[in-house]
């Protein structure tokens, strides 16, 4: 048999193969992500957090977060039980009512638990009125007592007698969204600056690089604090919220920009950019059609990994009193109440918002890590 008898397949055969590899690449990435059990668990945890705290905090809370309960200052958490003092099992969970009394010597509130009476917890009960998703007026809540006047403070109360559980839910709405908005702005500024700087070298690149360097020379929290202090005190909570997001992204874009600049610099030298230039493509076309899509996985990974950073930053700023301002609340604002050790020793439940910060940040870190491992085949 002569070697020349070997038949060439049509070009189509190869093209089919090419699309097949692209598809399987995506499948492989997805499979790789799904194999990462921590990342999958993180997705579930985050989905629950966002559903409960960002979408429906009114429904899941049993008190409005600003309501003061003057008779229940620094009330300890009431733990739902199934088994009563006599050891009898009850299918429906219940709490024992608490009563407060002012110790005239120390001026501390002293709480006693009344085990003679069981207050059963019911689901889909009526409580304070609110607008579901801001649209539908209702007063149905996920859980509550039959008698709304009876105390039910799952995580205790703070120094003004506000329900810590409900405040954590409402605080989560701010803390969990401030990161998203901040990251959104970071992506926009960072991608713009990074691609510009990498694509048009020379003076533009130099200016962007210098600016980034200067911004990175400021320690982050002191810089944010200075900007936070500059916010006018008369701003509405919403204005304040967006201002904080902008402040956070003002320094944060530099990391993404640097990384993208490096990517774009290498793409710029690549054959397909040259090819695009040869057929007369504009700068904008090359940037939008070639540079950005090629850097997409980078952008996704970096931004996922900077959300937890944003949440921590907001928490720290608000903890210092330079971020979200009361009466708005966030996890950082809540933790402000726990600044003194003696307060924490007396009322340890005031540290509970911190656990939620750790859970949310941990989940975002796991998620970002999972995405990176799935996208980057060389990182095994």
């Amino acid at each position: 048999m002569e070697p020349t008898n070997v038949q060439l397949r049509s070009d189509h055969g190869f093209e089919d193969e090419a699309t097949e590899t692209v598809l399987s690449q995506r499948t492989v990435r997805f499979r790789r992500f799904r194999r990462n059990r921590l990342a999958v668990a993180a997705v579930i945890v985050l989905a629950v957090l966002y559903l409960v705290m960002v979408a429906f905090p009114e429904f899941f809370s049993n008190h409005f977060y600003q309501t003061h309960h003057a008779d229940y200052v620094y009330a300890p958490p009431q733990i739902p039980r199934f088994v009563d003092e006599e050891g009898t099992f009850h299918l429906r969970p219940f709490v024992y009512p608490i009563t407060s009394e002012l110790d005239m010597e120390t001026f501390n509130w002293v709480y006693t638990t009344d085990t003679s009476q069981r207050n059963h917890i019911y689901f889909f009960t009526r409580g304070y009125s609110y607008d579901l998703l801001g649209l539908f007026p209702t007063d149905i809540h996920f859980f509550g007592l039959e008698d709304p006047e009876q105390p039910l403070f799952l995580f205790g109360t703070d120094r003004l007698g506000r329900d810590v559980f409900s405040r954590i839910l409402f605080g989560g709405r701010v803390s969990l969204t401030v990161g998203l908005v901040g990251v959104f702005l970071t992506i926009i500024i960072g991608s713009f600056m990074g691609t510009m700087s990498g694509y048009f070298s020379g003076p533009i690149d130099n200016a962007v690089q210098r600016l980034a360097e200067v911004l990175m020379s400021f320690p982050s929290i002191p810089l944010w604090a200075a900007l936070g202090a500059a916010l006018p005190s008369g701003w509405t909570p919403l204005q304040n919220f967006f201002a904080i997001s902008v402040i956070l992204s003002l320094r944060n874009w530099t990391g993404l920009a640097r990384e993208l600049r490096g990517k774009v610099l290498s793409f710029r030298e690549s054959e397909y950019t040259l090819a695009a230039k040869c057929v007369g493509a504009s700068h904008l076309h090359i940037i939008v059609r070639h540079m950005i899509p090629n850097s997409m996985s980078h952008i996704i990974v970096i931004s996922t990994l900077s959300i937890p950073f944003m949440i921590l930053a907001e928490t720290s700023l608000s903890f210092l009193g330079l971020g979200i301002q009361p009466p708005s609340t966030s996890w950082g604002v809540l933790l402000q109440a726990a600044q003194q050790v003696n307060v924490v020793l007396e009322q340890p439940w005031l540290l509970l918002p911190g656990i939620f910060v750790v859970i949310a940040v941990l989940s975002f870190n796991f998620l970002g890590d999972g995405i990176r491992d799935a996208l980057d085949p060389y990182s095994s």
């Binding site: 020379s217 320690p219 002191p222």
Partner: protein, 327 residues
């Protein structure tokens, strides 16, 4: 090398100049000045000469001059070590800050040493024993360290110490030494109290470095020259420590420049919880009171510390890596 050094020095000066402008702008951003508040306070106290006192102060510090002139005066004083006057404390800023800067630098350096001393061996262990139980434990703790706000860690540590050791934590000195004059015993006391802020401030940075080193070292371990080293018959220990680690530490040195801002930044927040005599607590108080000279000086000095740290890291990198060209 010399040319590189000089050029790098030139960049540093330019960066510092821009920083000073930016810092000055930021400090002047808040609407109203400290004097407005001061006047309101005086009037509230019923002082009749409020207007005049404020006017004298305004004239003394020429606060009505154009911003540009104010900046020039501020920066030219700054270079000479005259940082202006703190309205809040009513004394020159430079009398207020040196001690605090000293403690800040001590804590930052101690933290840096801690961070590197802990993260390098653990990072190497993790990369070499990837996906073993030990590595997974390290990774888990690393994630926890990254996810915990540092002030929360400080609080938890303090509560822990108070409950189990019945010992108040906070400050850099035991009560007996708090106001004592400097002595060997006091230095020892400082060192024995230093570990709490150092651990709290360094945890996140340590976690970051472990991850960077782990990732980088496992990349390097896949490189050809590591295989070459093995093919020469070198023992695994020499392959890892001589050939791989040496190449994997470069990002750590670069991270030195990136990590210092985190350490300074974190120390300011932690200082409030642990009541440390560092720049942080005064800085935030000055910001809230809009005591602009005091806050501005602190912000500038922190940035200067970082720029110098970055500069040193770059020089160190140039010494360690023969591939970096000095032109």
């Amino acid at each position: 090398m010399y040319v590189y050094f000089v050029r790098r020095l030139g960049y540093m000066v330019i960066t510092l100049a821009i920083i000073s402008v930016l810092g000055f702008i930021i400090i002047n951003l808040p609407p109203g000045t400290y004097l407005d508040r001061y006047m309101a306070e005086l009037q509230a106290q019923g002082s009749e000469s409020a207007q005049e006192i404020v006017k004298t102060l305004e004239q003394r510090y020429r606060l009505n001059d154009p911003v540009f002139l104010q900046y020039t005066r501020w920066i030219s004083g700054f270079v000479r070590g005259d940082f202006g006057l703190s309205f809040m404390y009513n004394m020159p800023v430079n009398q207020l800050i040196w001690g605090r800067i000293g403690y800040t630098v001590v804590i930052a350096l101690a933290t840096l040493i801690f961070v590197y001393a802990v993260s390098i061996p653990i990072g190497i262990y993790s990369a070499v024993n990837k996906y073993t139980i030990g590595d997974n434990v390290v990774t888990l703790f690393g994630f926890l360290g990254l996810s915990m706000p540092d002030f929360l860690l400080a609080l938890i540590l303090m509560v822990f110490a108070a409950t189990f050791f019945d010992q108040p934590v906070g400050g850099l000195f035991s009560p007996a030494f708090r106001d004592a004059p400097w002595s060997l015993a006091r230095v020892w006391d400082l060192l024995s109290n230093l570990w709490i802020p150092v651990v709290v401030i360094g945890t996140a940075q340590t976690a970051t470095l472990i991850r960077v080193l782990r990732g980088n070292l496992s990349d390097v371990l896949n490189l050809q020259y590591v295989q070459t080293a093995r093919s020469k018959g070198l023992s695994e220990r020499i392959v890892i420590y001589k050939h791989a680690v040496r190449n994997a530490v470069h990002p750590l040195i670069m991270q030195l420049g990136m990590g210092l801002p985190h350490i300074i930044s974190s120390s300011t927040v932690v200082a409030i919880v642990l009541s440390l005599p560092t720049m942080g607590p005064v800085y935030f108080r000055a910001l809230r009171a809009q005591d602009m000279f005091l806050a501005g000086t602190f912000l500038m000095l922190m940035a200067i510390l970082l720029v110098i740290g970055n500069f040193l890291a770059d020089i160190l990198l140039a010494i360690v890596d023969p591939r970096i060209t000095y032109e």
